[in-house]
Structure formats: C-alpha cells, structure tokens
C-alpha cells in the first residue's frame, strides 16, 4: 500500500528506487510530485527529462512521459522536446555533475534562450553514481576520490550561474526544507520561461563518508543548520551569518522562446 500521491504519480512497480538508504534524492523527487500535484498539471502533458547519475534515475520512477538521456545532455534533449511540442510541460531532473560539469553548456544556453523548461538540479556536491569523485559544486578543499588531497577547484554557485546566463526564475531549497522546496518547484514550473531550482541533496554514501559528515540523519540536520530562508535572512540578517540562503532568489518573467518562435510562424502564415 502506498500514499495516494505515490500511487498517482510514481511507478510503484519500479520502486523501491536504487538510491542508498537516507539519500536526499528521494525526498526531492517527492517534492517534485507534490508541486506537480498542486499545480494540477495534466500528467499526459508533463515530460520529465533527465541525464545520467543517481539523481537522473528519477525519471524512471515518475509516471509521465519520461526520458532518461545521456550524461549531461538532458537539457539539450529537453530543448528538442519543448521546441517541437511547446504544449508540453518540460521538467529536467538532473545532478550537479550532470547539469554543471558535462552539461554546463546546455544549462547556460537553455537559460539564455529563456525556453520554458524547469530544471531541478539534485545537488549532492559529488558524483554519486560513479562513486564519489568531486564535482563542480564540491566545496573547496573537501575530498573526493579524485581529490584525495582536497579539492582545489572553486565551486559553482549554481543559482548565480543560471541567473547570470539568463534564467528568468531561480530558486533554491534543500531536502530538509522539503515543504519550501515543493513550493519553489511549483513557482518554477509556473514561470513561463527557463526556471532553475537548486535542490540541495545529500549523499551519505560517498560525499558523507569521504568528508566525515556523519550518517544520513546527521546530514539532514546539517542541511537544516546550514541553510536559512531568504525571508528570514532579509528580516534578520544576523541569523544568516555564515549560512547559505534558500528560497526564491530571482523571479523576472521574460518573453519565452517558443512563444517568440510562434510569432514568426504566425507572421509567415499571415504573409501567405
């Protein structure tokens, strides 16, 4: 027996999922379906696209039109889907490595075009699927199997990157802040344009173990402690000291790409 939401939106026969005990990815996927449910989207018109990684396995569990692509290319496939069939709600579920390492170019270009795709990056600060190599979001001097002496790369702030590249909606929340996360995903999907959500996850198996972050419960608590709601931070900045802000970070609706293309089509129709 399952919860109604799970029955409605997930492929029960594909569960339990492959994620490790306590992995934050499951919580994030739950938030995604709550957001979809709240928005009352027609499931037939929802297309979930993912790349390759633990996080990207999400597409297989979700009962929509689902597309599990190649590593890093989710947004490029998604762009083809959206461009050729603009009436679909296209949602990309991806990992930090998938979106921002190998897939970084597709991220900035989809953002630049402001094409109506919602990208949700499950950011666990590591490559989980391949066993714990550092990713572009691994914090400075943290460890990964390919950073045995500490990671000397600066890490991306994915939200800044997406905003800088042109996303018209940007938000962040963590697997701990699951209620807020669902809300942000809801707003992101509602934005007609390119929306980016950093969903901070936790990987107790690799990132946690390599960096002595304790067990899954501990890592959830760390998320609670490390992140502060932007609304609180705005009211009481002292509470945000040394913490990372989450919430709706940017919301600036702009003309959407497929809409603009439609105008060309309409113009040519008139001409003929």
């Amino acid at each position: 027996m399952q919860s109604e939401l799970v029955q409605k939106y997930l492929r029960e026969d594909r569960l339990p999922h492959i994620w490790c005990p306590g992995c934050g990815h499951g919580v994030i996927m739950h938030a995604v379906i709550r957001a979809i449910d709240n928005l009352k989207l027609d499931p037939e018109k929802v297309c979930i696209v993912s790349g390759i990684g633990c996080s990207s396995r999400a597409s297989g569990y979700m009962n929509f039109n689902t597309l599990h692509t190649t590593h890093g290319r989710a947004l490029a496939f998604a762009t083809g889907v959206k461009m050729s069939q603009p009436d679909l709600h296209v949602i990309v579920l991806t990992g930090d490595g998938d979106t921002s390492a190998i897939g970084g170019n597709h991220l900035i270009h989809a953002a630049r075009r402001n094409i109506d795709i919602t990208t949700i990056t499950f950011n666990n600060n590591i490559y989980g699927m391949t066993g714990g190599q550092y990713s572009p979001t691994t914090p400075y001097m943290d460890f990964g199997t390919t950073a045995p002496y500490g990671n000397i790369d600066n890490s991306f702030d994915l939200c800044d990157l997406a905003k800088g590249a042109g996303a018209s909606y940007v938000g962040r929340a963590t697997a701990y802040h699951a209620v807020q996360l669902a809300k942000i995903i809801e707003s992101a999907i509602s934005n007609k344009g390119f929306s980016f959500v950093e969903a901070v996850s936790s990987c107790p198996t690799y990132y946690g173990r390599k960096n002595k972050k304790g067990d899954a419960v501990n890592m959830m608590k760390t998320l609670k402690d490390m992140y502060v709601d932007i609304k609180i931070a705005e009211k009481k900045p002292e509470l945000a000291d040394g913490k990372i802000i989450f919430g709706e970070l940017y919301n600036n609706p702009q003309d959407e790409y497929t809409d603009k293309y439609q105008k060309i089509i309409d113009m040519l129709k008139k001409e003929n």
């Binding site: 492959i18 490790c20 005990p21 198996t205």
Partner: protein, 176 residues
C-alpha cells in the same frame, strides 16, 4: 598435485566481502599460490546482494571468473537464494546459521554462527568478513593461517589489528 578452488563470497553490500576476497588472494600470493579476485559491480553494489570472487590455484589461472563454486559463502538469506545454485554438487557451502536452507544433498555444509559471533560475541558487526575468512582458511587448508592473518593485518585500517586478529582466530576455531 594441482589444486584449484573457485570461491564465491556473498552477502550484503556493507559486509566487506570484497576486502575478504582481496585478503585471501593476497595471502595466496604470499604463499606462492596463484589467485585472482574479482567482484560484481552495478546497482547491486549499492545494498542488495554483493558478490566477491576469488580463484586460487597452484597452477596458472586462465579464466578469471568463477564458473562453479568449489566453496560458497553466504551471509544473508538473499545472497543464499541467489547464489546457491552456483555451487558445485560436491562443493563446500559455508552459511551463516541465520539462513534458512533448502535441501542440498551432496555438498559439504558448514552452518556457522558468523554474524552472531560478530554482533554479539565481538560486538563488531563489520568483522563478519574476517571471521568468515578464518573459517574458510581452516576449511580449505591450502593457504596457511599465518599467511592469511598477515594479509588481514596488511589490509585492515590501523588500530584494528587486535579485533581483526581475534575475529580471524574465532573464525578458525568455528571449524571443529
């Protein structure tokens, strides 16, 4: 006379069976016996049944994968169910005594309290692999116990020598 054992160590993800396999292979080499160790990768590597293989042989080893087990270790019900069919008719089965067994006729069976010894006697669940290794070493009677113990101490984290030595010896003593 040439001897060759195909050994499969099965259980669940976190039980350290791959390490056990490596140690057994290490010890074999120390004694001048050939050995190849391999393991299964894949989603199964994350929880679920886990499998490590070792082939040890006084001759050269060609094919590196276990085909039919001369010795099968099963530490969980799941792994028992999955791999029991791969045991040779006249093979050796080493199972934890928590496992419910189906009828097996011709195999030599050692039903041992491995997990219990680890959990309750030694209070260190993670040494079940070393206990198993002790038992297997004794059963095989090919690689010398001191070699295996030396190999254990080479591979385990610093500061755990004592507990692992105890575990190994416990394992040896489980046999007869």
């Amino acid at each position: 006379m040439s001897k060759k054992y195909e050994i499969r160590l099965t259980g669940s993800g976190g039980q350290g069976l791959i390490l056990a396999g490596i140690i057994l292979a290490d010890a074999s080499l120390m004694q001048g016996i050939n050995a190849i160790q391999s393991q299964s990768y894949g989603p199964e590597a994350r929880g679920g049944a886990s499998k490590a293989e070792v082939i040890i042989s006084t001759e050269e080893i060609n094919y590196p994968k276990v085909q039919q087990c001369d010795l099968l270790l099963c530490l969980t019900q799941k792994s028992y169910n999955e791999y029991i069919a791969t045991l040779k008719n006249d093979g050796i089965l080493v199972v934890d005594d928590s496992i419910e067994m189906t009828e097996i006729s011709s195999a030599t069976i050692y039903r041992l309290p491995i997990l219990q010894t680890a959990n309750e006697e030694l209070k260190k669940p993670m040494v079940a692999n070393i206990i198993s290794l002790g038992a297997i070493t004794k059963i095989l009677n090919l690689v010398k116990e001191e070699m295996v113990l030396k190999a254990v101490l080479n591979r385990v984290p610093p500061g755990t020598d004592l507990i692992n030595t105890t575990a190994f010896n416990k394992g040896v003593s489980l046999i007869k």
